[in-house]
Structures are given as C-alpha cells and as structure tokens.
Symmetry: C2
Subunit: 496 residues, 2 copies
C-alpha cells in the first residue's frame, strides 16, 4: 500500500507537469489552469517542471510550448488534459509512449453523458500502461502547499456594475481535506469554507473516477500530515468492500465526514443522469458508513458544521452533555436537538446541582438561575458567571461535552466571556462547542472570537447540537475500536 | 372580537404611556425603555403622551417625572412596569384606580421561578379591573411605525478593543410579525433577521402570559395590514382549543410559521424550568398545528427560511416541483430534500422533455444538458440559458414551483442571470426560490440580488427545498380551505 501513497502523491506533488490544451485564450480552462501553475512557479510555491502542450502555439506566458507530450524532454510525472473528449484517447496513447505516471482528465463528455465506450477506451489504455487516471469530468486537484492548482473556475468575476468580486476563492491553508465526486459541489465547498474562515489541506475532485476512486484517496489522505479531517462528497461508491476496508483503517486515525446524495428514489435517478451513478439503496450506504466509522451528514450545512467540530475539538468520551446558557428558549432548542440525535441532556446529579446552589448562595450566579441542565444563567448573566459555570462542568465527571450557548444580547454580558470560557476549556480534554444567534456585528464577532480560540461556534442552537453529536459519535467509534486514547493524545499534542 | 383588536392595539399604539421604573441610570432597563420612547417622540414617530414614573426623581431626560401613576394628569392607556417583582402588585392597584387600559410587565421573578402566588395576585387585580396584561417576564413590544419600543437590550455594545458594535439591532420595517414566548429568542430573532435583510412589522414578546396569550395576538395580527406572515415561537400553548379556533381563522388569510421547542422529554423538562410551561406531548402539538394550518418549522433556521419564503413568494398550487441548475451534485441534494418533505420532483412529461431537446438542437442550451428534472445546464451554462429554461418551466402546467439552483462558479455564468430569471418569474403566479452556495463576495451578491427582486435565496440546496416545501404546504392548505384564489389575488396585488 505504500506504493499507492506514492502513486496518489504524484497528483498532489508532481516533479513535472504537462498541461495538454494549455492556451493563450483567457476564457479557456486550458489557459486558467496553465496560468495557475505559472503563477505558483513564479512564486516558487510550485517547484516542479512545467510544460504547456499545444500544437498551434510556440510559447504561452513565456513558456516554450510543445506540440505533443512525446516531444517534452526528460521524465514526465503528470499530464493534465483539458482538450475535447474525442481527442483524449490519442493523448493517452502518447502518455503511454512517454511513460507518464499519472493523468488528470478535466474534460467532460464521457460516461456522464452516455459516452461509456470512450471512457472504457481511455481506461483500458491507462490500465495496460500502468498509468493512474483521475477523472474524467472533474476539477482535479488543489494543494496550497505544493502549488498544484487545476481549478479552472475564475477566481473573480466582473459584475454588471463594473465591480470585480471573488467568485471561486482559493481556500486558506487548513486541516480539512475535500474529496468530491461533484466538481460543482467542490467549487461551492471552497467558496463556503473560505467565507467561514475554514482552511483546506488538500482538494480533489474525482468526477467519473474511471480509475482512481474515493477509497484510494482516503488511504492517501490518511498519510497526509496536514489533513486532520476528511470531507467526502459522493453520489455513489465504486467498490463497496474495498471502500469499507480502507475507510475503517482511516477512521481509527482521522475522522471522515460523508455527504452522500441521491438518497431518495428521485435523487438516485438524478444522480444516474449526472455521473452515470447506479446508487443502490440508501440503507446500504447508511450501514456501510456506520460500519466504517464514517460520520454521515444529513445535508450540506451539517457536512461543514461537523467537519469544523471534528477539526477543532476532541471527541467526547460519552453521550451526557451539559448546556450552559443565558437564553432559556434557545437552551431548550439545543436540548431538543441533542436528544433527537441520541445524546443525553439529563438532569445533573444532586452533587452537581448542589455546586450550583452554592454559587447562588455566594452570589456568583443569579439567584434565579436554573441548574438542572441546562444551566440557565438568565438575562442577568455576566462574563465571569459563564466562566464559573463552564469550569464546574468541565470538572464534573458526569459531563462529557459542553454546549456554551452564550447569546450576547443580554445587558451585562460582555465579549470577554468568550476569552474566559476558552482559556479554561483548553486545559481539559472535554469537547466544548459554542453558539450565539444573530447576523449583525456582535454575533459575528463572538463566533469568530470563539473560533480563534479553537472552539467551533454556530449560528443556531441546533447546529451546535449537531456539532456535539458528531464529537460524541466519533468518540464512541474510537472507544469501540480501542483508539480513543491514541487519537486524544495526538489531538491534545496538536492543540498545544 | 373587534373589541379584542382594539384592546391589543393599545399595546402597539397607545395614546399615552407611563414607564414605571423610568430611571436616569444608563444601565437600567427603565432608562433604556424610557429613552427609546423619548427619542421616538422627539423624532415624531411616537405620537402619544409620555410619562416617566419614579418617586425619587423630579425630571428624567427633560420630562417631568411623577411619583405614581395616579398623579399623572388625564387618561392613561398603557403602563410599562420595570420595577422589581414584589412592588408590581402595588402598581397594579394604582393602575386600577387610574382606569388604565393595559399594562406590560417587563419584570421577571414570577411563575418562571416558582412565584406563582405573586403572579396570580397581579392577574386577579387585572381581571377585576378589566386591565389587559402582557407578560410578566417579557421584552414587551416593538413597533417601528408607532415608535413603541420596549426593548431594554442595548442596541450596541463596546468590545474590549474599544470598538462599538451592533448588539441588538432594531429591525427594518417589513412584513414579518414576531410573536415570541422567549425574550432571548426574540432578541436573537431581531439580530438574525436584520443581518439577513428581513424586515419586521411588529414584535411582541409575551413571556409568562398571565393574561394576554398567543391566540389573542394572532387574532390582532390578522387585522394588522403591515403583517403578511406571522412567526410564532412558543414553549407551550395556553388554551389549545381557543388557539386552534383562532389560528384557523388567521391561516386562511395569512400564513403562521411556528417554532415549538420542548419537543423531547428532556426539552420539555427544560421548558418547565424556564417558563413553568407544562408542554404536553409533541404529537398533540403536531396535530394541532396541522389542524390549524400552521406550518411548523423543525429548527431555528427553518423557521426563518420558511418565513422568508412565505413573505416573498405565492403558494404553490401543487407539489410537482422542477429544479433547474448548472450544478449536478447540488441539484441532487435539492431533489433529495424535496422528496423527503413529500414534494415530487418527478420526470417531466415527454412533451416537456421534447421542448428541452428542441433547445439543444437550436444550440440554446448545452448539448450535454440533462432535462428529465432536474434540468442540468452543466458547467457550460450561460445567463440566457437559465432564462430560457425557467421560462419553459413557468409555462409548463405540470410544474407548480421552480427551484433555481444557479451556482455562480461556472466560467460563463454572469451575475445578470438573476435579473433575467427574476424578470420573467414576476409575470407568473408560480413560486420560484433560488439557491447559490458560497460565503464570499459573489455568492452574497447573487443571493441578495435575487431577494431584491422578491425571490428568496438560500445558501444551501436543502434550505431552498425547505422553502419550496412551505410554499407547497401552505398552498395545499389554502386549497383545502377554499381560500387559495383569494390569497393569491391579494398576493399578486401586493407584489405589483
């Protein structure tokens, strides 16, 4: 399997790349991709050799242009193909002769539109020659560290007002790996994650996966140091047994979050006419994900919310959750969602309740606070009250995770409650997630400040509950597979 | 019942108001509330008489201060009470003598913390005197039109950096009425709605509802011209039968969206210790909401998403939905959510498919587009293709609503596709909702531009599907109660 890691690594870190279909025409994908590499080479981020291939050009952006890959001097690790589908087999033949290791076929127009024969043809050529192929019909690879950037979607667009705006941002460096079957969803994910300040380690869109499949990517990402959480979007999975076997190996070390569409009959029909996927029943996928320790998200927002939680917080050792809030109603909403997901927000032990009663007597939390779970500090909450309450819960052995629902609207709560809560929480191995509701200035500040301290923060009580659910679920899986302590140690080391 | 409307109207439009507990001290709720009225009076928004009541002051903010409400000259419509709970009965006695019509008790410390006797006492006084009481333990009323503003939560706060930021914004004028049992949730809702550019007609937080209940407010809002959609947050409902009877009357004319927390056993327990609510089983609520034609939201985001949809778009005449997209994967996600909610994204009729095939022949949509439903214009989509496809679907009698999932990332799609789609959609009585995924500049632009044209736009395919679900559900209810055409006529008149 070491061989597999090396094979996959060529897609992300090639010593030499040829762009077949490189173009001088600004609107062409072959221009955008080639230019991405050129810029990254100029900045010395991309360190490999770079060759544009186009029989009609002598030079593109200052680089000598080759009429075919055969004419390129020296060894060639990777070929990126951006020419019409019907010409792809010819390029594949040339790649064989040139002993190319890997090929990315960005081009669409294969099995996803019924051109199965054409896709089989290129697959056959590749197999015979031992060439690994990513795609066709994909966005390819983005890796901020190595400067490999095959995204042909324009980074900015011009509005009718004449303004230039960010359209498909390149992501910040981070710990989430994006592995997606749908290119469109991949681009959208980059846009979403960038806007929400979440960073990406590696991005790969595999499209029709005529050769390289999701399981192989998972295995590769298991060995990628930058990647801490793997985010997988699929419409169907190619080789179920192999997928489960590999995913199981991965999830013991790194969490995988999956979004699998085509759940309903009509959705499966749509998927079939999208990538030619024959989806199989959704229950089978559910069972497979569970068996493999993969956390399945119900929808897009959950997908990202869960990814963020797993990247930032340790897993929970049990399902008993405490909620501390200054907002009764939203507190109940969080309880509801926790319980619906199988977490438990049960009444605290008498001993723990007594501790809170003691605080009331000492005037350290409001006399009218409720403390059965949730702890409701009421609208009279002050920053140090949140600190005190969270500390008690972090120390309580009956509590395995804490949702801090600190709505900033109450008169006396100041922004510093975030710092106080975060500074205590970092000293414990118990997961903490936060929520503040609102979309104007202070809510945005509170949430982003929490995240600066490594506490994922959400805009609704239910989203925070879902985040905690994922941490509990992954914790239970790690415990079952006897890897909890190893993972926790690694996590705490990383957090330092 | 006309009497009831007049009674409720006093809370929103009093000719004279006394603030008992008005204060010069900046941090006191009695200061904030009084000052709200002062400012609105100075701006000539609040047109009634204004009296601060506080025995320790001669004057507050230039207004003559009264030692008690009895000393106030002339008639007194409304008294707002912001003094500690134990003193409230005395004020209620004085209100009786003064023949006050209505009282809002902002003060907490009644049944929600077990002080049932105190609450019964004030209720009894009010009943005998025929005084209507809102609260206690509430945020009271906000009405931008009349200048009634009892929100004591600070509009801005100062961060530790010295920056002043918006903390609890006053909402924009609009068509959503917020009726909430939880004050905290109410404040959060204002923050959320303002940030998302959704406007509010009236806001009322009723807290412990010792007298005025949600049903009476619904009835009042039925008669409020500005209110087009009623948003109701409750933890329990006081008088089930009356509630259903009134709600039924309302929902024939205006949609009600409800968020009811305390759904799970643990949630109900939390609700009981929050407002003293005895919640009853969740199934009973489900049944009651269905019977009354109320659309129940599953969680906070759904609540707002649905409210926006109903405010902006007409209801659907049937459940067959078409999806048009340039993004295969997200298209499938939308199909899944529609189907899971009971909508139907079925394969188009041969005739409709033929129309799209014709477009392909004419080169008006990409040759590789799929057109069974979803219509997937693929990554080659251009603005006029969206326009053409949407037009065909608007005209197709087999389609009752359209989800436009236009992801802006594809190379050739320009921002003007929004204008093109919106300008056609306005000419039809079929609901259209939109989605673009992303959180950086262009996605925000696309969504806000759609909404400028009256098409609600969402950040995930599933959210757009939920919005359409609400429009289908409300349409079905209106049809069943034979009010569809009347509502549609009203809606179309308003949209002009």
């Amino acid at each position: 399997m070491k061989n597999l890691v090396q094979q996959m690594d060529i897609f992300f870190n090639p010593r030499s790349v040829a762009i077949v279909g490189a173009s001088r025409k600004v609107n062409k994908a072959g221009h955008v991709i080639f230019k991405n590499f050129v810029i990254n080479k100029q900045r010395n981020v991309f360190k490999g050799e770079l060759y544009p291939v186009n029989p009609s050009e002598e030079q593109i952006l200052g680089f000598k242009c080759y009429p075919s890959i055969e004419k390129i001097p020296g060894e060639l690790d990777l070929v990126v193909i951006v020419i019409p589908a019907k010409h792809v087999p010819k390029i594949m033949q040339e790649a064989t002769i040139k002993h190319v290791k890997s090929v990315v076929i960005i081009t669409a127009g294969f099995s996803e539109i019924g051109n199965h024969l054409l896709e089989e043809k290129i697959t056959e050529i590749a197999k015979k020659a031992g060439i690994r192929v990513l795609g066709p019909n994909c966005l390819g690879v983005y890796d901020s560290e190595t400067g490999v950037d095959m995204l042909f979607l324009p980074e900015t667009k011009i509005l009718s007002t004449g303004e230039e705006v960010v359209a498909t941002p390149r992501p910040l460096p981070g710990s989430l790996a994006i592995v997606t079957q749908s290119g469109a969803f991949g681009a959208a994910a980059l846009d979403y994650l960038t806007g929400r300040q979440m960073g990406v380690s590696k991005f790969v869109s595999f499209g029709n996966k005529c050769d390289v499949n999701e399981a192989e990517m998972l295995y590769y990402l298991l060995h990628d140091e930058k990647t801490k959480v793997i985010m997988l979007y699929v419409e169907e999975i190619s080789n179920g047994r192999e997928f489960i076997r590999i995913a199981k190996e991965v999830t013991k070390i790194k969490p995988i979050v999956a979004l699998k569409s085509g759940r309903t009959e009509a959705g499966a029909r749509a998927a079939a006419s999208h990538t030619g996927a024959i989806a199989g029943s959704d229950q089978i996928y559910d069972a497979a994900f569970t068996q493999a320790g993969i956390i399945r998200a119900d929808n897009m927002e959950e997908f990202f919310d869960i990814g963020k939680a797993l990247a930032m917080q340790p897993p929970a050792e049990g399902k008993n959750i405490a909620i501390v809030t200054d907002a009764g109603g939203p507190g109940i909403m969080a309880v509801d969602e926790c319980e619906r997901r199988g977490l438990s927000v049960k009444k605290f032990s008498d001993m723990l309740i007594q501790k809170f009663e003691q605080l009331k007597t000492e005037g350290k939390i409001p006399r009218f606070a409720t403390n059965l779970n949730p702890v409701d500090l009421t609208g009279s909450a002050r920053s140090e009250m949140f600190e005190t309450a969270v500390k008690i819960l972090l120390e309580a052995s009956e509590v395995y995770g804490i949702i801090v629902l600190g709505l900033h609207h109450t008169p006396e709560l100041q922004g510093d409650f975030v710092d106080r809560v975060a500074k205590i929480a970092i000293g414990y191995r118990k997961p903490v997630v936060a929520c503040d509701i609102g979309e104007t200035e202070m809510a945005l500040y509170i949430r982003s400040r929490f995240e600066k301290f490594g506490i994922p923060a959400y805009g609704s009580p239910e989203d925070a509950a879902v985040a905690m659910y994922a941490l509990v679920k992954y914790g239970a899986y790690l415990k079952k597979s006897k890897n909890f302590e190893i993972y926790m140690d690694e996590f705490l080391k990383r957090r330092k």
